[in-house]
Assembly symmetry: C3
Homo-oligomer: 140 residues x 3
């Protein structure tokens, strides 16, 4: 018999970079004894992303951040939307270039992540923020 559940996750950020939320999500799954189904996460902001990436070598995340800083330059004179700071419009563009929601199958009580995959909130703003991620599960 299928059922569903909703949850809101809160992640405090302190500047650009990656904040892993795999443990928070995994805990919610095990506490509710979800066995098989579909887990969805949606970030309720347009200046941060949700990313599935390698959780082993931290250089991968450093290189990702450096690549995106070079691709989408803070203070680019192209931008008209500058009142919220030089990192604001780049944050919107980085959000468009990556993902704001994720859909993950759950099987045998676990997320169908690969061995080296972690779920990250990618903060694109330099100031601290409190980020909200809406979670939904449908299954058994």
């Amino acid at each position: 018999m299928l059922r569903q559940a909703s949850q809101e996750f809160t992640i405090g950020t302190h500047g650009r970079g990656f904040y892993e939320l795999t443990a928070q999500v995994t805990k919610w799954i095990s506490q509710n004894r979800f066995q098989t189904g579909l887990l969805t996460l949606h970030i309720r902001h347009t200046s941060a992303s949700l990313l599935i990436q390698e959780n082993a070598d931290p250089d991968v995340r450093r290189d990702l951040e450096n690549f995106f800083e070079r691709l989408v330059k803070d203070g680019d004179p192209l931008f008209l939307h500058t009142t919220e700071g030089q990192d604001d419009m780049p944050a919107h563009i980085r959000s468009a270039l990556t993902a704001v929601n994720l859909s993950l199958p759950v099987a045998h009580g676990q997320l169908a992540l690969g061995t080296w995959q972690g779920i990250y909130l990618w903060e694109h703003r330099r100031m601290p923020h409190s980020r909200k991620v809406a979670g939904h599960f449908v299954g058994e």
Copy 2:
């Protein structure tokens, strides 16, 4: 008791830019009295995207468009696929760099969007098009 529903949304476009479909989707949710569940949207084209972005300052969308026009240049001599026009291959690349489907939790009868989030169809072609977006809801 879980149920599901399907819907096709049609959006007429007249050149590159953003066409908000939040109201169309919200109307479908309220008409069907969906309370809690998962809403999925999929655009049935490879030269337009679905994007969740800021719905306040229109300069954000103008900057997004300008950034993508500079990143993926119309008529780039790199491209072999040119028979459908100089903006066609850039449209496919912009589609690959962004999203073609979105997964949004519904809670308390409303999409779990943030305060500043709207759902947009991002048209990447210069000529007018009629775009089809497949919608699905599962929940209560």
Copy 3:
């Protein structure tokens, strides 16, 4: 009465490029007689992507590959994570710039794909790999 099902798809790759999996997914749908619902695919790797793209002119995929090779250069001196080869960090970045999961409505026993849309695994590594894609269906 809603039901769900899970499946793992395996795709062997032999170098960078696109490997269509539309037929594999379609076969799973027809064998299980899924009529209406939601299909989710998640790739369990961080150096390959899932992409919905044009399935007609193969030049589209060639241009996509060439564009991404120019945008994210192999052996870029910016990268610190180089022990797994010059194409490894670009593969992670290409994964972040594209999608690792897809959500597709199913209606009338068929994926709600557009006429010209195919589902591709986009391999970003040069060496052969065996890639796993987790599939989930909920519906009728």
